[in-house]
């Protein structure tokens, strides 16, 4: 008997099969959105009765027609961030422990917030306000805090706050979850705490 070599399998249609599968996965893929604005709800207990000075509250009000009142004056959303920064960074007085704000870059007016640790941003909205408007406003306010934190991080540690947080959570970086970096991040967070209060709609 002559030795017969095994016949070669024809692989010409391999590409077709792979293409078919490829197109199937191309069509079914939905790249999931997995980013958003984190927020924390207040616990379900009656709020403590604390007196807060009116000048330490930055009121943002949204009505049913998606118009915005800031400190009782009509304002465009694009001007909100600058106004919020001015309010938070004012530093006209002392923090709860009686220290002056040494890192604030504001104008230190008497009728604006005392200290970033005391400054409260309060959002009120009507039940008919659009979610999109609310998110836009909320984003602007969160952005105001980010800008202030970034500025402080540049001043103190010569790097951006975003980059510090990213490094902290990046398992490849040498500073992954190190206490030293955590202290720095917490320090900045403490100096500009993000206090955004959301009142229940009327």
């Amino acid at each position: 008997m002559a030795k017969r070599s095994a016949p070669e399998v024809n692989a010409g249609s391999m590409a077709d099969i792979a293409f078919l599968l490829l197109i199937f996965f191309l069509v079914t893929t939905t790249i999931e959105v997995d980013s958003g604005i984190n927020s924390k709800l207040p616990p379900d207990i009656p709020p403590p009765d604390v007196k807060i000075k009116q000048k330490n509250i930055f009121t943002v009000e949204l009505n049913k027609d998606n118009q915005m009142l800031v400190e009782d004056e009509l304002m465009e959303i694009k001007d909100l961030q600058a106004a919020a920064i001015k309010f938070i960074d004012n530093g006209g007085g002392e923090n709860p422990t009686g220290e002056k704000c040494t890192y604030c870059g504001g104008e230190r007016l008497d009728d604006s917030s005392d200290h970033p640790e005391k400054a409260i941003v309060s959002i009120t909205h009507s039940r008919a306000t659009d979610y999109e408007t609310f998110i836009t406003v909320y984003d602007q306010l969160v952005g105001a805090y980010s800008i202030l934190r970034d500025k402080l991080a540049q001043k103190l540690y010569n790097r951006s706050f975003k980059e510090m947080e990213a490094t902290y959570n990046d398992s490849k970086s040498p500073e992954f979850k190190t206490d030293k970096l955590k202290d720095k991040i917490d320090n900045i967070k403490k100096k500009y705490p993000r206090i955004i209060s959301k009142a229940e709609p009327k």
């Binding site: 692989a11 391999m14 590409a15 792979a18 293409f19 599968l21 490829l22 996965f25 191309l26 079914t28 893929t29 939905t30 790249i31 999931e32 959105v33 997995d34 980013s35 958003g36 604005i37 984190n38 927020s39 924390k40 709800l41 207040p42 616990p43 379900d44 949204l62 959303i77 694009k78 909205h125 009507s126 039940r127 008919a128 306000t129 659009d130 979610y131 999109e132 609310f134 998110i135 836009t136 909320y138 984003d139 602007q140 969160v142 952005g143 980010s146 959301k198 229940e200 709609p201």
Partner: protein, 156 residues
């Protein structure tokens, strides 16, 4: 002089397609890995708003999704008011507490405080519904929330 074209009319060699399957397979594997099969099909319109200052959601298995929006075209019978969707069904405000309890029961005990409720809400929804959801979440003690948004500038 004609040192380089001796043969005169030589035919162009055919381009080898032998590596084509490999290339296609590479793409295929990429998409297979990147694909997330949706575990619940949406019965509502879900056009998320966009925001610039977003943070990444952490571990996928510690996130529970609450959807809300107007019923999509094939569910016109449910009315035109914005509704909540939990898992695969339309839901009411009172269904949120059992939903959270069920999600918590399926997680390990040490993971429960890390759970995040992600609100995937259509941008045309009224804030009334959202604050109702938030009140329900507060009652169950689920305080960590995330407004899921697209990335981009919110200002027009």
């Amino acid at each position: 002089m004609s040192k380089f074209n001796k043969g005169g009319k030589k035919e162009l060699p055919a381009i080898s397609t032998a590596s084509l399957p490999d290339i296609v397979f590479m793409l295929l594997f990429f998409f297979m890995v990147a694909t997330v099969m949706r575990d619940n099909s949406l019965k509502i319109k879900n056009n998320l708003p966009s925001a610039a200052d977003t943070e990444k959601l952490g571990q996928k298995n510690l996130v529970m999704f609450l959807y809300a929006g107007k019923p999509s075209d094939s569910y016109k019978s449910m009315g035109t008011e914005a509704r909540i969707q939990l898992n695969d069904k339309f839901a009411e405000i009172k269904d949120i507490a059992p939903f959270i309890a069920a999600e918590r029961a399926s997680k390990r005990e040490e993971e429960i405080p890390k759970l995040i409720a992600a609100l995937k809400v259509d941008k045309e929804t009224n804030m009334g519904l959202i604050s109702d959801i938030e009140q329900a979440l507060r009652k169950t003690g689920q305080l960590k929330i995330n407004y899921t948004t697209k990335k981009g500038s919110a200002l027009k």
